[in-house]
């Protein structure tokens, strides 16, 4: 077991790196229900939370898990859960309520093949669900897509900070490959002492010395909910403006830019090397935030890049966002492996070569 100490570099499973990242970020509340392929997270979390004096609850269902988060977050504490696709679907009711109550939580989805029970192989087929709200009502969730064990360590802190800044649920979407992959992880920042985190001004803690507080997602007064939703939309616009994150690799002179996130971005970073060695000018744009989608950089790129290739482990979901961002100025192709298939570098390179028609 890889127990972490500060300022250390260790070879770790992605799932274990995520757990350490959550604890490093000062979170001491985990509630969840086992589902493959993310079981290492609750297993390791049960050990680490015990060591750190935190709360670990193995729940009766994903529905209970997300509602325990609702409670812990309303009480002003950092709280997280992890699950995989069918479990995340069950959590959507709670996520909608949490968004409606303007509370920060962290939900990790280690996506598997779907729909339905699907399979336990890595996939990215919950992209729409993650980036379009997922549950009922007008809302969005901040969604981060890690592509390394280091990201899995660092993104929980980022997710909590963004979630708290905007009082909004945050998601981290990964897949079984990222979770099972072993990589060196640097504990790149000092662990955050949960006691040092300020108590939010809306937190439920008992009303001693102040007015009572109420956390709710409903407002039945005529026009009030409408006004609240308009206000929340302004918040979403602000997030879209300020929080777009991405990584660009060799995009400056590229004739073709591959757009891929998570495991697909890992695969495609190998493709870039292969393509460049053959003389093809290929770049990679990796969205780090899937919502807000890094639309601005794609809009800029589309003014000089003729062709984009979207690579995903689904039937083509992010392609919509790329089209919207580029306003159809460029040609867009897609290569997808749904249902647990993982693209290989040679097959993506083949696609690149077909697009370029052999031109260098």
């Amino acid at each position: 077991m890889n127990k972490a100490n500060k300022a250390e570099k260790k070879l770790m499973y992605g799932n274990h790196a995520l757990v350490e990242g959550v604890i490093h970020a000062g979170c001491r509340f985990f509630a969840g229900y086992p589902i493959t392929p993310q079981n290492e997270i609750p297993e390791f979390m049960s050990i680490r939370m015990n060591e750190e004096g935190g709360v670990f609850v193995q729940t009766e269902s994903e529905i209970a898990a997300i509602n325990m988060l609702f409670g812990a977050a309303a009480a002003g504490k950092r709280a997280m859960t992890s699950s995989s696709s069918p479990g995340i679907s069950l959590m959507q009711e709670g996520i909608s309520y949490i968004a409606g109550a303007d509370l920060p939580v962290l939900v990790v989805n280690v996506i598997r093949g779907g729909p339905g029970l699907g399979n336990i192989a890595p996939a990215q087929s919950d992209y729409y669900q993650a980036t379009r709200g997922g549950g009922h009502g007008d809302y969005f969730t901040i969604t981060l897509a890690p592509y390394s064990a280091q990201d899995l360590f660092e993104f929980p802190r980022l997710a909590f900070e963004l979630a708290e800044k905007y009082r909004n649920p945050a998601l981290i979407v990964a897949d079984g490959i990222l979770g099972q992959m072993m990589e060196p992880v640097e504990f790149s920042y000092e662990p955050i002492d949960p006691e040092s985190l300020p108590e939010p001004e809306w937190a439920l803690s008992g009303c001693k010395g102040r007015e009572r507080r109420v956390v709710r997602s409903y407002d039945l007064r005529p026009g009030k909910l409408e006004a609240l939703n308009h206000q929340r939309t302004k918040k979403y616009e602000e997030i879209k403006k300020k929080e777009q994150r991405f990584d660009a690799l060799e995009c400056d002179d590229a004739d073709i830019v591959i757009v891929a996130y998570g495991t697909c971005a890992r695969v495609c970073s190998a493709v870039i090397k292969m393509a460049r060695s053959k003389g093809y000018k290929v770049g990679l744009l990796r969205p780090i935030t899937l919502w807000p989608f890094p639309a601005d950089v794609l809009a800029d790129l589309s003014k000089k890049v003729e062709h984009f290739l979207v690579v995903e482990m689904n039937c083509g979901q992010m392609i919509d966002d790329v089209k919207l961002a580029t306003e159809c100025r460029s040609k867009i192709s897609f290569h997808g492996r749904p249902g647990g298939g993982v693209p290989t570098p040679p097959e993506v390179l083949e696609k690149v070569e077909a697009i370029l028609g052999g031109e260098k």
Binding site: F70, Y97, V215, R216
Partner: protein, 249 residues
């Protein structure tokens, strides 16, 4: 002049919007009084249900949260685990607790979560218009069982205290009623013990309260009170179903 009777500080000044003869107001008042008598108002966090008493978040003069239907025990768990010094109570109706939230209440009980559950059983879905509840009696009419509950088609009512008493987890389970002054006093005593158990870190207490719904039942308030004693309490016997304090002695 000395004030002898007034609204307890445990309730806000908001007027209750319940139907005439409804039992919620009585139970609200009891809780409002206990928050003060036990000196826990300033460390209480209440969980409002969905249904007629959804506005409990406006009525109780303490921190409140309004979660999804049925999930009160899970939300309570999350709050209590991170704020063990707070007194957490979940106020739920029978649709909330015995239908959509069955899993949450059973497992919170099995874990012996140190929380207090106030369970209002009025044998019907009130707010949505008087439909069949898991607690609707055999033969009892509702808007979705207009000829009366047929157990062959709609199954049998759920006896929550008996169900939870089958588990090892719960610390204290009692069924009360608010149909007579005597029963109101007993209900207050039971709720007081339920809160005290939590203050003493004893664990899970649930007080089921048979409560009038004249509107949903198509009765006058007086008829509804009589119906509780004559019919409802026959199917749902009042009494203590688990008292681990006694077992421990």
């Amino acid at each position: 002049m000395k004030k002898l009777f007034g609204r307890p500080e445990g309730l806000t000044s908001t007027l209750l919007r319940y139907c005439p003869g409804c039992g919620h107001g009585i139970v609200h008042r009891i809780i409002g009084e206990l928050l003060v008598e036990l000196n826990i108002r300033e460390r209480a966090i209440g969980i409002a249900p969905v249904g007629c008493s959804v506005f409990a978040d406006e009525y109780f003069n303490c921190d409140m949260i309004q979660p999804p239907h049925g999930r009160g025990p899970a939300v309570s768990t999350g709050i209590k685990r991170v704020r063990p010094d707070c007194i957490v109570f979940s106020y739920q109706g029978d649709g909330d607790l015995a239908a959509i939230g069955t899993a949450e209440i059973i497992h919170a009980g099995a874990r012996n979560e140190n929380i207090t559950i106030v369970f209002i059983n009025n044998a019907i879905f009130g707010m949505t218009g008087g439909q069949l509840a898991p607690t609707t009696l055999p033969g009892m009419k509702s808007t979705t069982s207009v000829n009366g509950r047929d157990v062959k088609k709609q199954g049998y009512p759920m006896k929550v205290c008996e169900l939870l008493a089958a588990l090892d987890g719960p610390y204290y389970l009692e069924r009360c009623a608010v149909d007579t002054p005597k029963n109101v006093i007993k209900t207050k005593k039971a709720l007081k013990r339920a809160f005290k158990n939590q203050m003493d870190n004893k664990g899970f207490s649930l007080i089921e309260i048979l409560s009038m719904c004249p509107t949903g039942w198509g009765q006058t308030p007086v008829q509804a009170k009589k119906w509780i004693g004559e019919v409802m309490a026959q199917y749902y016997p009042l009494g203590v179903y688990r008292d681990r304090a006694k077992e421990e002695k």
